[in-house]
Amino acid sequence: MSYLPHTADDRSHMLQTIGAASVEDLLQPIPERLRLLRPLKLPEAQNEYDLLQHMKALAAANTDVGANIFVGGGAYNHFIPAVTEMVTSRSEFLTAYTPYQAEASQGTLQTIFEYQTMICRLTGMDVANASVYDGGTAAADALIMAANKTRRRLVYVSQAVNPQVRQVIATYLAGSDIEVRELPIEQGMTVLPELTKEVAAVMVQIPNFFGIVEDGPSFCAKVREAGALPIVAVGDAVSLAMLEAPANYGAAICCGDAQALGLPLSFGGPYCGFLACKQELMRNIPGRLVGITEDRHGKRGYCLTLQAREQHIRREKAASNICSNQGLCALAVTVYLSLVGPKGLQQVARGSKLAADALKKALGAIDGFSVEFAAPTFNEFVLRCPKGRAGEILDYLAQHGIIGGCALGQDYPELSDCLLLCCTELTKPEAVERYAALLRSWVSENAQEGKA
């Protein structure tokens, strides 16, 4: 199936109008010696039915674990209401381009405006952009913004920020004149050093990668004292319903991934990076912004604004190179937040934390296992396993249809016996009990083996 409407008559009419004998004539500008003279080596074209069977078979080759997903680490298995998907599959949203023709794009423009408003209300910030690629690139953008604003060239990032986010930052800033230094952690929490006057910004994640709710107010106060900008990266975005809005305790920039707010896991994407800041950073924020304006008759309308920051106007002097963003994902987030409302989102946050607290308590009580950090956590926590057995335990749980967490050794050698676990409001009490029961069985099986 190639979705081509041209009949043989159409083609000859078109060629005749052009004055060409064949389509080959049109391709004359391509030097003959460069032409590909064989067919591309690709699988045979499939009809829609066969394609669907093929894709179903591939999808079935992934293990269906239901809600037995006890891993987060930047991607969270929350409930998604049906209306979210209905709206994002509306042709008029799905198949529209960037809203450059404002009058014919009021739908997209108004939803972006509503998205910006919701991100501002969740984070307490004054300005939010129309989305960036994900929580990783949002963090890199946040640091670049801060360096440009302060004209300083040193930034600190806590080691308790998601390691993947730190890797994105490292790649983005490698070729720049901005130096990135990492802040050490103690007991799972960021240790802030004395800050000098060269520091542009300091980034922590709240809840951090280990699920710990760091002390935002004292962090922001210390960073502000040094004249630097405090940046708060958000872990599971649902936490914003339970935790204070970062702007309210002094953050200048807030970034993160909104996947938790209405987007499916989809093996890692597409997700939705959010980036929000205080008013004084408005002209430093990259990406599209939608503002309110009026038409010729004084009627309210929405349009892209402050475009002088962007690449299609400023080219190499732009605030960023971003063009395509995550528009449809931002729409999903907007619809999700409209559906759950303030009370629903709080309930999602509470349910996630209650489930994680229950799991933490149950697993921490099993012989040979312990909760690694004492600090309060949101919906993720670190579990220490018997020495050298973390990988084996994950395999054991996988055999029983459970994604039991993720191993931390690769990013934190001192935590090589530890797993990072996560619950959401979809984690049922029975699932928590089953996880604990399986760990107890593993312990007893291994104890017997030990005797034998």
Binding site: L122, Y302, L328, G344
Partner: protein, 480 residues
Amino acid sequence: MDSKTVFEKSRPGRAGVAVPNYWGADDNAGSAGIPEAMRRAKAPALPELSECDVTRHYVGLSQKNFSVDTQFYPLGSCTMKFNPRINEKVAALPGFAGCHPLAPASMCQGSLQLMYELQQYLAEITGMDAVTLQPAAGAHGEVTALFMISRYFHDKGEPRTKVIVPDSSHGTNPASAALAGFQVVTIASAPDGSVDLEALKASLDGSVACLMLTNPSTLGLFESKIEAITELVHGVGGLVYYDGANMNALMGLVRPGDMGFDLVHLNMHKTFSTPHGGGGPGAGPVGARGELVDYLPGPVVRQGDKGYELTAMPHTIGRVRLFWGSFAVLAKAYAYIRSLGASGLRQASEMAALAANYMRVRLHERYHVPYDTFCMHEFVLSADRMKAEKGVHAVDIAKALLDRGFHAPTIYFPLIVEEALMIEPTETESLETLDAFVDALLEIADEEAETLHSCPLNFSVSHLDETKAARKPVLQWPEA
């Protein structure tokens, strides 16, 4: 239709959905242990509406949009082709949508296989040795390739500082080069719109890391001297980067690798039919040849002893995003390639060129076509004569087209054409649609300036005051 925000429609006490509550997560439950100073004092002021109200609000807003499914959308350089629905269906299969990116490899073999095969397909289509699926969009692919180039020269012990872009290039090219820490050198195009070989030669020396090039150019013209161009850049030890924005012209006809390009990015949301979603998400896989393969960001998927697995390349630049790629977008592109096969892709490119040339020829008597020769998938008109004759600008023509039920072409780009209107019909539009659009443009050409200046008339809003929006920006709805 009103333009009230969802916040104005909110009434305290309403809810659009009952969220699962297995833990008695009622008021005040659950925040145990969180220090007082970190507990949210006031619930976020999100709107409160019923499910019916939310549905009506957003479906109502959708109806204020033009889209490919509802209108012809000949936006140049954006390849607004038809987005097949089967692709949406397969990408959303529960087995894919529910797969956690940190699941053990043994539990996500289907997703990994799809990615592995797509890497192979895209390498074959571009003539590259290997492909990463990580980048999230075209501009993200550009900057990824530039990070690779930067690291490559760094490792060779010859740091190079300059990136050359033609003045006809996409704005993302220079912006990506700047983000990757390069100095941008812009070269003027030759009078025929192609790369000016003399200007290129004059800009080349040992400090040049790379030339970024779109082929066909943003004028829709194939760069016939491409071999000479890549040879010149390679001659000073530089690399040549292929901006794949216009790859829809070339599938199965000629490959960037065979033209001498060292790196490419492709836009899944242009050439490979994944929908634009009102601005995204896209996906911008990057391909590389030779030594550069080792620098691809990772992880990428390979076939190991125990099945498909994620692996990092030996000199990888690291990560450019979270996880592995925009999987759901990639799945749609994969489905598209499987639907069309080799001959279908080639036909698509051929028919894209046929449609563009047909429209160009039908329009060139009434409109100024500055580069009036065989084009590939798109062409550029100029309203410069109309501007001189009666004060009609490209934007006026664009707005008049909207009133006639067509999305406007890209306007004021490329920058080297005054009052540019860049038209890309794509291969999925019927002859009747192409004719109707051409007829509308011909009709507009005869309209009085005054009539055109009042357009558009048929929308929920008339011409919007962008200056006002920028002078005192209102970027969020004020909290009551």
